[in-house]
Amino acid sequence: MYNDKVMDHFFNPRNVGELENPDGVGQVGNPVCGDVMRITLRINDNRIEDIKFRTFGCGAAIATSSMVTEMVKGLTLEEAMQISNKEVAEALGGLPTQKLHCSNLAAEAVHAAIKDYRQKKGLD
């Protein structure tokens, strides 16, 4: 069902966990659909210095979460806001059609965490 890259990120997920005292926290998804992702960020100098995720969900949900953490680490907040769910799926070499909707929310979780950071800082 999944390609090797997805399987690699699923079985060896990068940046799993939760940062202590994070600068931003984003949670998206809906337990009804079976996919919830929580991203915690450490921001330094307008860049994502560190990022961790925790995900309740299927293989695609976990793999996209892992993938997005690799993609945005080191980016400026503006750059990270440009990354879309679609690009995450592409970076993984594609996902099965039925997984493109509810299981592919990782970029949104990052965006939510950045918004949370900006809100807390009064930047929004």
């Binding site: 999944y2 399987m7 699923f10 079985f11 997920p13 799993v16 966990g17 949670q27 998804g29 337990p31 009804v32 659909c33 079976g34 996919d35 919830v36 992702m37 929580r38 995720f53 925790r54 995900t55 309740f56 969900g57 299927c58 293989g59 695609a60 949900a61 976990i62 039925q98 997984k99 509810c102 299981s103």
Partner: protein, 396 residues
């Protein structure tokens, strides 16, 4: 089976999805592909031979459920048999009433067929179940009106394994003069079934769930009952199901039924032991696990658990990598959004329903298989929980 690099062992625990064809069954089928390949309708030796083969298959299938051979119609599988029973009665008897009764926990082959009939104008009552997946015969009794023409309640629930009180419901149906269908796809060959004792008028069987080939199923139709055929064409199967008969399939199905009947008492005892060992092990080894389905009124081969804070597919993929095949009630495995309608009907939350796993046992499984699963699932659960957004403390 493609190789699983990390697997120390291959353990198939998805027998409710499908089973391998038994060697004896395959051996019985083999002559009918190339040597004895005739069409049962033909007027020559090849045809006679094929006709005899399906007569013999019909005899064996009917014998598993205590029916007479002319009460069994062969179909392409359980789904077609369910469709033929339900649409066949609804269409044949709509002059007598337009109310139908079924349950919320039927297989999709039954549920979606009733939903299709709703669109045609039939009124359908979907009775609920309790937290163990058990249907209350009194709910059926109360649902019956003078317009009720059919009741359909499954015999053994395919996801959670609960065995429904079919005999009692059959008596209620009989005493109200309402036809009664039961989907026994998961029960046949696993628990004794007698269409006489159960008071059913129609009963669905599927070959590939009992070590017979895929592509063949059966419908018991009580003598004298008239159905509206759903596929029209040649005058096959008592004019109820057109299409050249799947002769090797029917031969295999027959042999599978014969063997299932002969081995049922011992094999079901063996499966119950393995089942109870697996259930006890899960409850002991993994925290925050619940058993789904009825603790006692349960199919011998079914284990269904909810593993809290986790989603099913993620566990299945990990089990698969370790060589273990199971299934899940999570929506993610079916491509829909909602998790199993059965678990929701039993009152589970969406999150818990997403985290359900079904292990269905079969003839090849041994106590060592159970030990292996009990060894590998706890660390999988631990690992996945360590990355889950939910946990005992979460708002979950």
């Amino acid at each position: 089976m493609s190789s699983q690099p990390n697997a120390q062992k291959l353990v198939y625990l998805d027998h409710s999805a499908t089973t391998p064809v038994r060697p004896e069954v395959l051996a019985a089928m083999l002559p009918y592909f190339a040597g004895k390949f005739g069409n049962p309708s033909s007027v020559h030796a090849w045809g006679d031979e094929a006709r005899k083969a399906i007569d013999d298959g019909r005899e064996k299938v009917s014998s598993l459920i205590g029916a007479s051979p002319d009460e069994v119609i062969f179909t392409s599988g359980g789904t077609e048999a369910d469709n033929l029973a339900i649409r066949g009665v609804a269409h044949a008897r709509k002059a007598y009433g337009n109310h139908l009764i079924t349950s919320q926990i039927e297989h999709h082959a039954v549920l979606h067929t009733f939903e299709a009939l709703q669109k045609e104008g039939f009124r359908v009552t979907f009775v609920p179940c309790d937290k163990h997946g058990l249907i209350d015969p009194d709910d059926i009794r109360r649902a019956i009106t003078k317009d009720t023409i059919l009741i359909s309640i499954m015999h053994g629930q395919n996801e959670v394994g609960t065995i429904e009180p079919i005999g009692e419901i059959g008596e209620i149906a009989r005493s109200h003069g309402v036809l009664f269908h039961s989907d026994a796809v998961q029960s046949a060959g696993k628990v004794p079934i007698s269409v006489g004792d159960l008071n059913v008028d129609l009963l669905t069987l599927s070959s590939h769930k009992i070590y017979g080939p895929k592509g063949v199923g059966g419908l018991f139709v009580r003598k004298g009952l008239r159905l509206a055929p759903q596929a029209t064409g040649g005058a096959h199967e008592n004019r109820l199901r057109a299409g050249t008969e799947n002769v090797p399939g029917i031969v295999g199905f027959g042999e599978a039924c014969r063997l299932a009947k002969a081995e049922l008492p011992e094999e079901s005892k063996r499966l119950i032991e393995l089942r109870d060992k697996l259930i006890a092990g899960f409850l002991r080894e993994i925290p925050d696990v619940d058993l789904n389905g009825h603790p006692i009124l349960r199919l011998p081969h079914n284990v269904n658990i909810s593993v809290k804070y986790l989603e099913g597919e993620a566990m299945l993929l990990n089990l698969d990598r370790m060589g273990v095949a199971a299934s899940s009630g999570s929506a993610c495995t079916s491509g829909s959004l909602e998790p199993s309608h059965v678990l929701l009907a039993m009152g589970l939350s969406h999150e818990t329903a997403h985290g359900s796993l079904r292990f269905s046992l079969g003839s090849s499984n041994t106590a060592e298989d159970i030990d292996y699963v009990l060894e590998i699932l706890p660390p999988i659960v631990k690992k996945l929980r360590s990355m889950s957004a939910f946990g005992p403390g979460s708002s979950f």
